[in-house]
């Protein structure tokens, strides 16, 4: 091919243009544009069914888009698939590896598919499965299986790592363990693209985040930028038992951006906590309503999502 792509470090690790994909009557991805610079951890955050998995699988060359283009590490799936596969580490959502093989045998198998990369034992150490080296995959816990899946993605020494819901279904300790491993990979200067519906995961791991809903990116930026964009820094949540409340007076307080009721609680989005809380207490005292619960937290990506869509990330 004339002007074949040189092995120069790509300026953009992943570029997605006007991507569209429909299944029968559902539009999974609806005109998506993304750009991921090398060396960053980029997160696709959104609720289930937002089109995250379809998007990442198109980027991984496993699904063909209806229209639009994907460029991975400066290469295209249509012309450079074989070269591209050598450079990618992929972890799919809920893959079950062969249960009868041991951890070592599984990694030895995956290692044989790549030209270069660390040995099976080195990757086992990396994901801290040393003690389970000879154990059957079927006997591993959920967290250990997920670490093995990560190891299978790392065994080819990838330039770009795709992780689809890496910690879904894991207990908090197993999640933190996995986060540390992903952070170590990031610290080595590699690029990561991950999907998640956990805002804490996105906030902790990602340099940049695209919030997805109904197949579209509805906001994009660093976690800090996204949170700042909704103009609130804190959320005050309180409840007053079953007593009725004059919400208009609360809405009129200085520094209150938004008031919503949810089940039996009231949520205030405020700019300054140290002024909002005393005002709120004074106002409740004036109305003669007792306070049964009071919680505050700094605004999170969850609040951003609620602000943008009126729904929670994990609407059941």
């Amino acid at each position: 091919m004339p002007g074949a792509t040189q092995a120069l470090p790509a300026k953009v690790a992943l570029r997605v243009r006007h991507l569209r994909k429909s299944y029968k009557d559902v539009t999974a991805v609806d005109g998506l544009d993304l750009e991921v610079p090398p060396g960053q951890c980029f997160g696709l955050l959104g609720p289930n069914g937002a089109g995250k998995t379809t998007t990442i699988e198109i980027c991984e060359g496993l699904t063909d888009p209806d229209s639009g283009g994907v460029e991975v590490l400066g290469l295209r799936w249509s012309s450079d698939a074989a070269a591209l596969r050598q450079k990618l580490g992929i972890q799919l959502q809920d893959t079950q590896l062969a249960e009868k093989l041991t951890v070592f045998e599984t990694l030895r198998l995956f290692r044989s598919f790549f030209h270069q990369g660390p040995g099976a034992d080195e990757v086992i150490r990396l994901v801290q499965l040393d003690e389970k080296r000879g154990a059957r995959v079927g006997s591993l816990s959920g967290g250990q299986k997920q670490r093995l899946a990560l190891a299978c993605a790392l065994v080819g020494d990838p330039e770009l790592l795709f992780l689809d819901e890496p910690t879904t279904g894991l207990d908090p300790q197993a999640r933190r363990q996995l986060w540390e491993m992903i952070e170590a990979f990031k610290a080595a200067g590699r690029t990561i693209v991950l999907t998640t519906h956990y805002m804490d995961e996105a906030e902790r791991l990602c340099d940049r985040i695209a919030i997805m809903d109904h197949g579209k990116v509805i906001a994009q930026g660093t976690p800090r930028e996204l949170i700042a964009s909704i103009g609130v820094e804190h959320v005050v949540e309180f409840s007053t038992g079953n007593r009725t409340l004059d919400l208009a007076a609360i809405r009129a307080m200085a520094g209150v951006r938004d008031v919503r009721t949810e089940n039996d609680s009231v949520l205030l989005q405020v700019t300054e906590l140290h002024r909002a809380v005393p005002q709120l207490l004074a106002e409740l005292g004036r109305q003669g309503v007792p306070l049964t619960e009071l919680r505050t937290h700094s605004a999170t990506l969850e609040d951003v999502f609620v602000h943008l869509t009126g729904r929670h990330l994990r609407d059941e």
Binding site: R85, Q96, L97, K100, E105, L109, F114, H115, G156
Partner: protein, 341 residues
Amino acid sequence: MSNHPLFQLTLMRMREFLREPEALFWAMIFPIALAAGLGIAFRNRPPEVLKIAAVSPRLAEALRQEKLLDVTQLPPQWAEQFVRTGKVALVAEPAPDGTVIYRYDDTNPEGRQARMLADQAIQRAYGRQDPVGVSDRIMREPGSRYIDFLIPGLIGMGIMGNAVWGLGFAIVDARRKKLLKRIIATPMPRHYYLLSFLLWRLILLIAEVGVPLAFGALVFGVPIRGSTGVLIAVSILGALSFSALGLLVASRVRTIEAVSGLANVIIVPMWIVSGVFFSSQRFPDLVQPLIKALPLTAVIDALRANMLQGAGFAQIAPQAGVLAAWLVVCFGLALRLFRWR
């Protein structure tokens, strides 16, 4: 070489098989147990002695001269009932006019045989002279017994069952668990994955064919008259054809239930019509061309011709052609239809 993906994939096949005790049992132990059971049940016994009865002492005495008859004497009123309930094949009773009456069922081969032997014995006892003397030379030849017929049938059945079920289940299970999708997300060339199944089948074939063959030869003295080269070639061609069939069966379905149903629909009719346990010649002439075109019939006919009649490559060419056709068609279709996710 141990770093080659094909080696590692085939190793995975082997490990998965050896670590599944049930698979090992059905593939290896079961055919031997079946051959042993059927071999014993249908072993050739010395010529059978027929039970008959006589209602007079004179007739009984005359009949006892024939060694192949086991004679009891009965009161006349029981005669009819004994024949009807099958306790004896025939009853001989004297008629008032001095002749002899044979009571028997002429649709029962034992009845007809008893009639012949009984009549001969009675006529001799009453003084008939044979015009010419005769003598017997008994020959019991290996190769014409039921076990000789059965062993090639079981080998064919084993090659088919292990290939269709083995491939079908393994591939559908990997698809269901999204392992197929995970594997094609690596740089591994896709055909390696399918090739690893064929390689593993060929390795397993040594045991699949060798074990029942050795068992038949050592325990029952089943003959292997043809060349071993032909035997190996037929086995390999059969294994490849059935692997292609297994691949086709597994090419699209996503659940174990669907693949086992599909595999059974293909396998069970062939067990019945292709002559595993009894000759396929028993089916009407009209369907014979159809039966001959089935891959299991081709494998079994070729194995029998080779082992029992010593047939060479030329004589089994039609069967080899049938197998090659199945191989090409099934493999081509499977590659077209195959779904990796």
